[in-house]
Symmetry: C2
Subunit: 251 residues, 2 copies
Amino acid sequence: MESSTRSQARICRGCWDQMHMPIPIRGPLALPFQAFGITRSKMNPNICTICERAFTFVKKQRHVSATASILFADMRGYTYLSEQLDAITLSAVVSTFQDQCAQAIWEHDGIVNKQMGDGLMAIFNFPIKAERHAAAAVRAAIEVQRRCGAALEGMAKRGVDTRAMPLGVGVGVHTGEVEIGEFSTFRSDFTAIGGAVNLTARLESQAAAGEILVSAEAAAQAPELVAGAAIRELSLKGINQPVPAHVLTVH
Amino acid sequence: MESSTRSQARICRGCWDQMHMPIPIRGPLALPFQAFGITRSKMNPNICTICERAFTFVKKQRHVSATASILFADMRGYTYLSEQLDAITLSAVVSTFQDQCAQAIWEHDGIVNKQMGDGLMAIFNFPIKAERHAAAAVRAAIEVQRRCGAALEGMAKRGVDTRAMPLGVGVGVHTGEVEIGEFSTFRSDFTAIGGAVNLTARLESQAAAGEILVSAEAAAQAPELVAGAAIRELSLKGINQPVPAHVLTVH
C-alpha cells in the first residue's frame, strides 16, 4: 500500500518537504500549473519541474550542504554488449536497464538525478526527505539487482547470448555530506557533488555483476540490511587508505 | 567572426538541419515560441528545446543511426580535490570546468549532451550537421585543454595547492556509428549510445592530465590535426585487441 500511495502524490513532495508549499501535480488543480510548464519531474513522478529546474528558486541559494545517500548503478559487460549487439537490441537493453532502475529508486523515494548510457546516479533525502535515507538507498539497490536480474533472464530467453561475459549490474551506496545545487551557469537542473558522491562512484566501479557495495557510513545507518555481509577492503584510485565496503549479493 | 556569427543564430540550427524548419530562437519572432516553452537549449544556445526534448517529434522515430563524433572530458585529480577542498571551492572548480568546456564545444557546433560532476559528453554532427565533425571535435578538445589549463593556472594563483596531484583534464575523441534517441520511457531528452560512445569513454579514461586521445577513425577524418602525434597502443577493458590512439598534448 505504501508504494501505491507514493506513486499517487497529489502535490509535489519535494516542494512540500523543502518549502512547505503545496504545488499540485495530479488532478484538476494541477491543470493551471501545467499550463505554465510546471509538470511532474522526470527524476521522480512525485516531484515537479520547479524542484528539478529552479533549484535557486526553491532553496533561495545557489547550492546547499545536505546529508544524503547516493546510489550509482552501472551495467557490467556493457562494452562487450555494445560490440556484439545490433543498435536496436542494444537500445532495448539500455531502456530496460534505465526503466527498471528508475522504478526501484522511485519505490524508495529517491530521484534519478543523472542517466548516462548504461549508468545512473540517484539521490536519497533530497528533495523528498527521508529520515532513513541510507536504508532506502540500500533497499532500492537490492530492488535494482532483483529487477535487472529478472530482465536479464528474459533477455537470455530471447536469444541474447549472455554466457561469454559476466553480464549484470554493479551498484555502490554511500551516505555523507554533499553539496546540492546548480554547478554550471548554463544548466538549470540540480545535482550533487563532493567527496561523498565521488566515493560512491568509485565503490560502484568495484562492484562485480550482482553485487552492491555499501560504505561503512551507509551501513551504520542501515545495520539490519547489511547484517552478516562480508566486508571487502578496497583500494580506490585517488584515495590513500583502503576503504572497507559491505558486500551484498542478490540472487 | 565565425564564432560570433555562430553565437547569434536567429533560428534553431538543429531543427533547420534536421527538418528544414525555421524555429525562431532569438529576436521578436522568438517571443510567441517562448510563450509555449520553446526556448534555447541548455545543450547548445543555437538549438532549441524542440531538438532537445522532443526527439521523436523531430525525427518521427524513437531513435536513428547516425555517424557522429563523440567527445568525453573528465577532470584528473578530482577525487583528491574533492577530499581536500571545501564545498564552496569545489563547486566553483566544477562550475568553471563545465562552463569552459561548454564554450569550447559550442564554438565548434557540438552539443553538451551530458554533464556528470567533473565529466561531460559532447556530440558533434547532431542535431547541428557538420561535414568535418571529427575535426570539429578535435578542435573543441584542444580548446577544452587550452581553456581549462588557463583556468587551472588562475586557481593556483588563488591559493589552491595543485602541486600534490597532477590536476588537469583528460579528453577522448572518436568517430563512428551511434544510435541517437530517447532510451528511457520516462525521460524525453535524447542521447547517443553504442560501441562508439563506449569506446570514447574508455579512451578518455586513459588520457592523462593535458592529453587528448584521438581514435584512428577520428584521426583519419582530421589528419591535419594529428600530424606528427605519437601513437599509443591502449588495452581497454572489455575490448580484446589493443586500440591505437593518437596522443595530443596541449601546453
